[in-house]
């Protein structure tokens, strides 16, 4: 059932496939980034290394691919909270190379997660920081990944007046609405795992074109659960449902939410938690929706891969699990 594609060395800390699943980026504890490409176009089964370089000081914990509309580029996030953006380009007469475009974040204010989204015709990058701040950057030149402009900076709270002490966040999870293009302003979802309960709950942020600012349009937590630490969030692709589906993993379990498409009178999107599922014991590491948005795959501290689906009556359940066995 499982076909082996590649074996990597022991120092490997994270991997990430590009959007079309033809390139794999892998990073190591010493800050080395490696790129593997399909050898043979029609089959993705054999991969060869095409690039290997030390891109960061220290342990790389996450790699995020930039949408292909903006080239072949990855953002590497280190355990020290530094992001390094690398791009594959052939400049002038030189051969193809990976080059650094941008680096940001520092050890006192770490970047916890970065995700890219396309809004209208512009590439945006959302970064979540360890002090609980969210920064949205905008790419100025579509062909140039060096020039980013800070578009907005805010905290993951609904009421901006609420005061709390200095926040310290362990992790954050961001997921853009996968719907691209069209006239719709894009939106993203973010949740924190922090010591400040106001920051934690996942919220959907949407850009308000008229007032040029980001607004929280939905909060995905029941009133009694708002302080729960969020481990991972994932926005499902919507291929035509009359509502959005979002998965949020907290220390309470895995919640599936339906989010309405049209805001009510106060500008909020109607939300409904349709399931609270248990399965992974402990932390959920990662959640990924398949391309139809019908199956959710998750991994977690229990070392299992679990698949979740809804049945014909809309009841969510664990469909299958994979247990790694040596």
């Amino acid at each position: 059932m499982a076909k082996e594609l590649l074996t990597l060395d022991d120092a490997t800390t994270c991997t990430s496939w590009n959007f079309s699943g033809t390139r794999l980026a892998a990073a190591s504890a010493d800050g080395t980034l490696s790129i593997f490409d399909s050898r043979n176009p029609p089959s993705s089964s054999s991969l060869r290394s095409t690039f290997k370089f030390r891109v960061l000081e220290g342990n790389i914990v996450k790699i995020v691919w930039v949408p292909p509309e903006y080239g072949d580029a990855v953002a590497c996030i280190s355990a020290d909270g530094i992001v390094s953006l690398w791009e594959e380009v052939a400049e002038d007469t030189q051969s193809l190379q990976w080059k650094m475009c941008k680096s940001f974040g520092n050890s006192s204010n770490k970047v916890l997660d970065v995700q890219f989204g396309i809004s209208l015709t512009c590439l945006k990058m959302v970064a979540a920081y360890s002090d609980g701040n969210i920064r949205v950057f905008e790419l100025l030149d579509p062909l140039e990944l060096r020039n980013w402009q800070l578009q907005a900076e805010f905290q993951n709270v609904i009421e901006s007046v609420s005061a709390f002490g200095k926040a310290s966040c362990l992790s954050a999870s961001i997921s853009w609405n996968p719907q691209k293009g069209g006239s719709q302003e894009s939106s993203f979802l973010i949740g924190f795992n922090s010591n400040t309960s106001e920051l934690n709950s996942s919220k959907v942020w949407e850009f308000d074109q008229a007032h040029q600012r980001w607004l929280p349009v939905a909060e995905l937590a029941l009133p009694e659960d708002k302080g729960h630490q969020v481990y991972a969030v994932a926005w499902a692709p919507n291929i035509g449902r009359p509502y959005e589906i979002i998965a949020v993993a907290t220390d309470k379990g895995l919640a599936i939410w339906h989010v309405g498409l049209n805001p009510d009178h106060d500008g909020r999107l109607p939300v409904k938690r349709v399931a609270l599922l248990s399965g992974h014991e402990g932390m959920v590491w990662q959640m990924e929706w398949d391309m139809s948005g019908m199956t959710l795959a998750t991994t977690g501290e229990d070392g299992m891969v679990r698949l979740w689906q809804s049945n014909l009556n809309g009841v969510w359940h664990q469909q299958a699990a994979f247990e790694p066995i040596s």
Binding site: G71, M291, N313, Q319
Partner: protein, 735 residues
């Protein structure tokens, strides 16, 4: 049955709590410290397993493969089913348009579905095997041919019950044929009559061999009718209606064989030698003829069995197409059997095995429940025997379910074969169970295609399966299963191209999934890219194709294929990228205008074209190119005419407001040769003044911030000024 108990109502039915846990063998030394997941196209999931010694990247296909069907055969089925499916969809939509109703439930609709069903069925296996009993050579009882598949058996079963209205009247006989074709499939789970026959056949060969090898007198102990399994198998084969096999096997009976007769005579003579009178020999021989007569009488009765179905080649029996025609001959036939059964002649037959064996066959034909139960191995065989001998007049599906329940009780089994579960679902007349069984046991291909058969029979099923459900995100069950199947197709590089056929038949979400599928294709290779764009064109997905072309353009531009990059960005009509490219050209042109770099960007300007409204500065670049070209001509020759043309281009450029200021100095510096033309002044007074004014403007601009000094020799400005002054002086004199 409420739908929530149907396979737990699952999309892909699951077997309840806890969920199935599949082992993922990775061969790494534990522990696994981290796992990461990524969906590839369709339903293949890629995992990275991080262990202490190494990290492994694996791909997991989430659809279980049918063990009976190879990958290559699967792809043949997948490709082969596209055309019948598409044809049926187009017929459905044209019929809907004609009737102006969404549901094409129509009295003749099933004929279209039947044609579809036959075409799909033929993909699942070669020509249908003739019912096993065709025998050419006396050794072969069961013909071994192409292995039937459960998939084909399932398909035919659905076809029999849901589609083929014409043969509804002889449904039981169709089930008899079905079992004859597919009984071997059940051998993996149950003991079957087919399995027993195959085993016996091997033995039979041994008997034949020993016939040749052993001494004639020892044959006496090897005759077939002495083997209890012979009679056992005869009754089994008869119970499920394999008349051809039964008749053939009966004719293997020793009493038919001349050499056998002589063997017996020999045996008798042998006995006679041991003091039996010759009269006894005569009696033995005549009894032997009687035995043969009885066997033959039974064989004739069997081969004359009236059957309620159309005649078919190679099939034994007398055929009646309608029930009224069938009843009388049936009763007459049964009477003949009863008569034979009650005849005193049996007392004269002193071969006990033959006598009992034959009378048991008569009991089977008389519908003796115990005999049938003894003769059959598992419930479906028993079920079929009921139709043949106990309820020969059954029509339609009514009460068939209760009978099935009764047979299951009589033949309880610990395991249930997947075809048996499907059959129960069908007999229950529960479409949802049937779908759930198809999905669980036979996979998405069968469900997506068989759903057409399920709706052909009933308006109720049509409504159930086409009803849009909020819980499914506003789609129907039909659409759901097509989406699931299309996703399977999408996960393989050799089949993704046919996924659009199924997706476009999904009214609500098919296009959305198709868009996602197309967007995930790699743009790196031209053939895939062109195929992608072609699919977009076919389904009018302009926004997707322009996005694909943009990705292709950016990829090529950034990977050093500037020309191809511009081409695809133009195809995508991506204004912002093209603007940026024009800007970059400007910048590179502004920096240096050596002849080599001219060659590089000249092609680019050509490509960008003048009609590109978006690239604002392109008009300038075109004029600039014309100027550079004429300048190159001048450097080659000494012709004043060409020099004048070049000057014309220069003046046009300098007059044009779209010429950026930073180009003024480089332009003039490039034109020094023209300004210092030896033969005559090439610029008029007014033209020279224009250029001098531009120089004046430039010196003012220098004072402003952000002025960037062009990369020219330090004396450039002064030499231009001098050349212009000289030209002005000569022009004034000339004029």
């Amino acid at each position: 049955m409420p739908s929530d108990t149907v396979g737990n109502g699952a999309l892909v039915p699951f077997s309840g709590d806890p969920p199935a846990v599949y082992p993922l063998h990775h061969g790494l030394a534990p522990p696994i410290r981290r796992l990461s997941i990524s969906w590839s196209r369709g339903n293949s999931l890629r995992l990275s397993l991080f262990a202490a010694a190494a990290t492994k990247v694996v791909e997991v296909k989430l659809t279980a493969e049918d063990p009976e069907i190879s990958d290559a055969h699967w792809r043949r089925i997948a490709y082969g089913s596209v055309a019948p499916f598409a044809l049926l969809q187009s017929r459905r939509s044209s019929l809907s348009a004609l009737l102006k109703t969404p549901s094409p439930y129509h009295s003749d609709w099933w004929e279209n579905v039947l044609q579809y069903s036959k075409e799909i069925g033929s993909l699942l296996g070669g020509s249908k095997l003739p019912p096993s009993p065709i025998i050419e050579d006396s050794n072969t009882i069961v013909k071994s041919g192409e292995e039937p598949t459960s998939m084909k058996a399932a398909w035919e079963l659905i076809e029999i019950f849901y589609v083929d209205k014409q043969s509804q009247a002889w449904l039981p006989e169709r089930l008899v044929d079905w079992l004859a074709d597919y009984d071997s499939l059940f051998t993996s789970t149950y003991e079957t009559i087919h399995g027993k026959l195959v085993d016996f056949q091997k033995e039979l060969v041994n008997i034949q061999i020993s016939h040749f090898l052993l001494e004639p007198h020892s044959i006496w102990h090897q005759v077939i009718e002495d083997d209890p399994r012979y009679w056992d198998l005869l009754s089994s084969a008869l119970s499920v209606g394999w008349l051809e096999i039964v008749v053939k096997m009966l004719r293997l009976h020793g009493s038919y064989q001349l050499d056998q007769l002589s063997n017996r005579e020999y045996h008798c003579a042998f006995q006679a030698q041991l003091n039996v009178k010759s009269k006894t020999i005569a009696v033995t021989v005549s009894k032997f003829h009687l035995e043969n007569g009885l066997v033959e009488a039974v064989a004739v009765l069997i081969s004359k069995m009236p059957r309620l179905c159309p005649e078919s080649v190679g099939k034994f029996g007398e055929f009646y197409k309608s029930k009224p025609d069938f009843i009388k001959p049936w009763e007459k036939w049964r009477l003949q059997i009863t008569k034979l059964d009650c005849s005193p002649i049996w007392i004269q037959c002193d071969n006990q095995q033959t006598r009992e064996g034959l009378r048991n066959l008569l009991q089977i034909m008389l519908g003796n429940t115990d005999s049938l139960c003894m003769a059959t191995c598992y419930w479906i065989e028993l079920y079929i025997s009921h139709f043949l001998y106990i309820r020969p007049f059954t029509m339609g599906i009514e009460s068939m379910y209760n009978l099935a329940q009764k047979c299951i009780q009589l033949k309880p089994q610990s395991n249930t074969h997947r075809l048996a579960r499907l059959m129960i679902g069908i007999l229950e007349e529960n479409t949802e169970v049937v779908l759930a069984e198809c999905s669980r046991e036979f996979g998405p291909w069968l469900v997506a295609h068989a759903i057409e058969l399920l709706t052909a029979g009933s308006e109720q099923a049509e409504i159930l399966l086409h009803e849009e459900r909020y819980n499914l995100g506003g789609i129907s069950i039909v659409e759901l299963h097509r989406l699931v199947y299309a996703q399977i197709l999408s996960s393989h590089t050799l089949t993704w191209q046919i996924a659009p056929i199924y997706l476009t038949s999904c009214m609500k979400q098919g296009m959305g999934l198709l868009e996602n599928l197309l967007s995930r294709q790699s743009v790196q290779h031209n053939n895939v890219l062109l195929k992608n764009i072609e699919i977009c064109r076919l389904y009018e997905l302009d926004h997707i194709s322009s996005n694909i072309m943009k990705i292709a353009g950016v990829y090529r531009w950034k990977h050093g294929h500037k020309g191809a990059g511009v081409f695809w960005l133009q195809q995508a009509e991506d204004a912002s990228c093209l603007d940026r490219i024009a800007q970059q050209l400007f910048d590179s042109v502004g920096k240096s205008i050596s002849d080599e770099s001219f060659k590089q960007w000249e092609g680019m300007i050509e490509l960008l074209g003048s009609e590109s409204k978006h690239a604002g500065g392109l008009e300038f670049l075109h004029k600039y190119r014309d100027f550079k070209k004429s300048l190159q001509k001048v450097s080659g020759r000494k012709s004043t005419d060409t020099a004048r043309q070049a000057v014309g281009s220069l003046i046009l450029l300098m007059k044009n407001p779209s010429t950026p200021q930073r180009f003024w100095l480089p332009l003039l510096y490039d034109s020094l040769k023209l300004l210092n033309w030896k033969d005559c002044p090439l610029l008029s007074v007014s033209e020279t003044n224009l250029l001098l004014n531009k120089l004046q403007d430039l010196s003012l601009a220098k004072l402003r911030p952000h002025y960037s000094e062009p990369n020219l020799p330090s004396d450039a400005l002064s030499s231009i000024r001098l050349a212009l002054a000289t030209n002005l002086g000569r022009a004034i004199l000339d004029e």
